[in-house]
């Protein structure tokens, strides 16, 4: 293709996006669009899969059967989200094995929040309420993103996430209506998850690298700082309502802005965790790589069996 032809295609492509048309896998797209989507969708998929681990940690110890069932269902949903998202990625011409390889080698990222440990049952509440809450704020705008398979996956994911978020909040309510020990447990979980949740919405706009291009492609519709503000303004009253105290002495309502002012985020911690030095980064990767490598003989067997079955069918067909 001549340079001009490419430019022309690009122009038509950008116009389609501007008209809110969906881009589908078989449509022409700029290479960078493809790469950016693979990066973002796979990062999202990896986050779902790694995100199973901190919650999976409490399945055997859930305090009631009802909670155990709900937790199992939630973690299963996350696996399901991972599955759609990997499939959406695959429509862009990359295999799931390659995506795993990127995760396991550390080339691909996943949400840093999953590098914190789940140390009490209340963390199941905090994760649902805060982590899924922040995720929804990130993800709702993606239901209208330009790439069709991603947008459709997001519609389904967001519906389930908001169910999970209510469920998490409900765990917190129950704890706050319980004994002093339970209240302390809930408050302690909020203390530990609050700041990492704010960090989940990404670095400050000044430090954020992909924003401009992503805005254009509707991979992003608000800046990180705006999303963070939205999250805080939404969450603070929820905490107040059930008697939880946000662990930020600088937090206060700013009448003028109609928003909460809040304290400074420890970005050193953020970057430490992103770079692989959080409390659980090594453990999480050990678990994922361990599952993958330990499962190799199983996948090989399934493949061999399926080939044998195919051969048998072919022989019978002759």
């Amino acid at each position: 293709m001549s340079e001009e032809q490419v430019k022309n295609l690009e122009k038509q492509f950008e116009e389609r996006i501007a008209r809110d048309e969906k881009i589908e896998p078989k449509d022409w797209m700029p290479e960078k669009y493809r790469q950016t989507h693979i990066r973002q969708m796979s990062q999202h998929a990896h986050s779902e899969i790694v995100g199973m681990l901190p919650e999976g940690n409490w399945i055997t110890r859930a305090p009631s059967l009802r909670r155990k069932v709900a937790l199992l269902a939630k973690v299963q949903d996350e696996a399901g989200h991972g599955l759609y998202l990997y499939s959406a990625c695959e429509t862009l011409g990359i295999s799931r094995d390659e995506l795993y390889e990127q995760l396991h080698s550390g080339k691909a990222k996943y949400s840093s929040i999953f590098n914190y440990p789940t140390v009490t049952w209340a963390d199941m509440g905090a994760i649902g309420w805060l982590v899924d809450g922040a995720a929804i704020i990130n993800q709702v705008p993606l239901c209208n993103t330009s790439f069709g398979p991603y947008a459709r996956a997001m519609v389904r994911v967001c519906k389930e996430e908001s169910f999970h978020q209510r469920q998490g909040y409900e765990i917190m309510i129950k704890l706050m209506n319980g004994t002093q020990e339970q209240k302390d447990m809930a408050q302690d979980a909020l203390n530990r998850w609050w700041w990492p949740s704010l960090m989940m919405l990404g670095p400050t706009d000044a430090e954020s690298v992909h924003t401009e291009q992503s805005m254009k492609w509707k991979l992003k519709r608000k800046s990180n700082d705006d999303l963070r503000q939205q999250f805080i303004d939404q969450t603070v009253p929820q905490a107040d309502l059930i008697g939880l105290v946000i662990p930020d002495p600088d937090l206060k309502w700013n009448e003028e802005r109609g928003s909460h002012d809040f304290g400074e985020i420890n970005w050193d911690e953020f970057w430490q965790v992103v770079k692989g030095h959080g409390p659980m980064n090594k453990e999480r990767m050990k678990a994922r790589v361990g599952a993958w490598e330990g499962g190799e003989w199983v996948r090989d067997a399934a493949m061999a069996y399926s080939e044998k079955q195919q051969e048998r069918k072919e022989k019978e067909a002759i």
């Binding site: 069932v69 319980g178 599952a291």
Partner: protein, 250 residues
């Protein structure tokens, strides 16, 4: 309180509880995302069944006992599950072999329990059997894939089957509660399921190019509450929260 009925229900439900607990522990660590989802789903189904059974048991007990008390506040010697379901996940072959050896039994059992004169039990059986039919298909498929897959998978699956075989006979032992419930038309006579069970299991093993073990020696004890050394560790986790934070609501 109808002591025999209560014990009879626990004898059924404890199997699902402990197997569900085992399967739930694997979540996030499966050999592929698809199997991970399926195993979690099996756990979920089993715990769903467990809740129905224990809720009914709590009603029969007629005191303050809740489903969670029954699930999590008994001593080890009071759990009545068979030894099979508490065996460890040595590798994925063991996990699938354990599941398969239980599923085939479970399906036959629920088929009969549907005919129970106890309407609650027959309703639970009726609801559960669809799930268990799916479990059985899933685990049978894996017996075939691993049995008739690679040399390594064949070896691993044969080892798992050989090791777990010793726990199959107990499935067909009658307890005193069984006998009482059979006489009332409520319980299933498990001893009558034995032939169909070994037939079905053998057929699938053979289809999977696996040998049917010939051992005459079997282990028992679970139905009398005498478990293997794995059980204590399973319970330490299962009961952790209820024990550490007694009398609270979650």
């Amino acid at each position: 309180m109808k002591e025999n009925l209560y014990k009879y229900i626990l004898g059924i439900a404890d199997n699902s509880l402990i197997l569900g607990q085992r399967m739930g522990a694997l979540t996030g660590h499966g050999p592929s995302l698809e199997t991970d989802i399926a195993c979690t789903n099996i756990s979920l189904d089993l715990f769903g069944q467990v809740r129905s059974y224990y809720q009914y048991a709590a009603k029969i007990a007629g005191d303050k006992r809740t489903e969670d008390d029954i699930a999590m506040l008994r001593q080890e010697r009071e759990y009545l599950n068979v030894l099979l379901v508490e065996q460890p996940d040595t590798d994925f072959a063991y996990t699938m072999a354990r599941q398969f050896l239980f599923d085939v039994y479970h399906f036959l059992f629920l088929t009969e329990l549907q005919k129970s004169t106890d309407l609650t039990l027959s309703a639970i059986a009726n609801k559960s059997i669809k799930e268990v039919s799916y479990h059985q298909r899933f685990s049978s498929d894996w017996i075939k894939r691993l049995g008739d897959g690679t040399e390594e998978s064949h070896k691993r699956m044969q080892t798992a089957i050989n090791d777990l075989w010793t726990y199959t006979d107990e499935l067909f032992h009658q307890t005193d509660a069984d006998k009482a419930m059979i006489s009332e038309g409520i319980g299933v006579d498990v001893s009558k399921l034995k032939e169909a069970y070994y037939k079905k299991v053998s057929d699938i093993l053979e289809e999977s190019t696996l040998e049917v073990p010939e051992s005459k020696y079997f282990q028992k004890g679970g139905k009398q509450g005498i478990h293997t050394e794995h059980m204590g560790y399973i319970l330490a986790e299962l009961q952790y929260m209820q024990r550490a934070y007694p009398n609270m609501e979650w």
